[in-house]
Symmetry: C2
Subunit: 229 residues, 2 copies
Amino acid sequence: LARKLILIIADAGLELVPKELWKHPSVYKNAERRGKKPWQVLLDVSLHYSAMRSLERKEKRGRPDITHMCLLEALSSPSNLSGSLEVYVHTVEGKIICLDPKVRLPRNYNRFVGLMEQLLERGKVPPSSSKPLLKISDKGLKELVTDLNPSRVLILSEKGKLIRFGDLTRVLASEGKPLAIVGGFQAGDFSKEVTSLGGDFISIYPKPLDAWAVVSRVLTAYEYSSRII
Amino acid sequence: LARKLILIIADAGLELVPKELWKHPSVYKNAERRGKKPWQVLLDVSLHYSAMRSLERKEKRGRPDITHMCLLEALSSPSNLSGSLEVYVHTVEGKIICLDPKVRLPRNYNRFVGLMEQLLERGKVPPSSSKPLLKISDKGLKELVTDLNPSRVLILSEKGKLIRFGDLTRVLASEGKPLAIVGGFQAGDFSKEVTSLGGDFISIYPKPLDAWAVVSRVLTAYEYSSRII
């Protein structure tokens, strides 16, 4: 069997508006304008900033744009086009999203938001398919990683040990089925759920990087090490 | 002086709605809903699909999302964070957008659209600044490239000569001020304006890639070759 890279976008700020914000004017007015109920709408700091002020862990929530960017990077990558990538999203609520490698995600952000709303409300997309392109797994993160049985777990973190790109390609070349975990949030630390997986914390640049810049560099290192590019 | 990479997103599908579509119902209704006139609104195929049916070169137009993705990749890259990158956008109308390397573009697509509308209408952002973060240049593409005086021009194209990632890093390492041109459109060929620049057409993967996947791989090759990562 061919080698594979597994990518998990972890602690992603992707969730429906939580109950405590349903009655906030900025939330229900916005939902109404789209013909939706507050609990059918994705939490988005660009729309719900004032409502989110008192929300706990707010620096990690309401950022579907980060997941969108990371997924477009991953699904459009030579790793994925060559059939060498598996991608999952682990959300801030602990949900696991499984993606068919062949799914063509909307490039347009507003359409992506609509799709994620359908997914989080109905559990899969298309909702009536027995082979959905996107689905919420019954598993938690720990169980998913145990089942995937990666040869090594790399957690990309600005607080990790700095590794040069050339060394990263050599590490990836020596692994049969490495798992790379990239945080799908703006600021703050990984959750206990992630840190308790027991991976190696690595950093690819001395300054903090946006999640999509990390995703593309890890995938590029994998592609170079596997002679995909 | 330090080495630099110049990146131009060329023939980008980024323009205000052209005159021939101002009276189309899908255009003016949509503009009205946002409190704008049709000529103040960015052309976007996800909103103006039916209006665009009879538009010439339509496969290259109305895709601000591609430019958004490419610019977020470029501005968040280690190349840019280390001061080694200059980025320009050349639009399908032939306009040149100059970006301050320190600009923090909106991550949210709808806010990016608002910013580009302001830029294309007023010529700079902020409109009253003498040192704008974004501005439309008086130059055309040919003049810009002549003034930049790159040591080599690489045009990334699926029809170009296939080059391995390792060879690309060696090419970039040997150049003092290379210019990489990536197409900011969905389908079709580069305009004569671009092809007449006389660069080397190269391809980094045997299949067509989305523009942002090309941007991130070229920048990563440059960063690796310059020991930025």
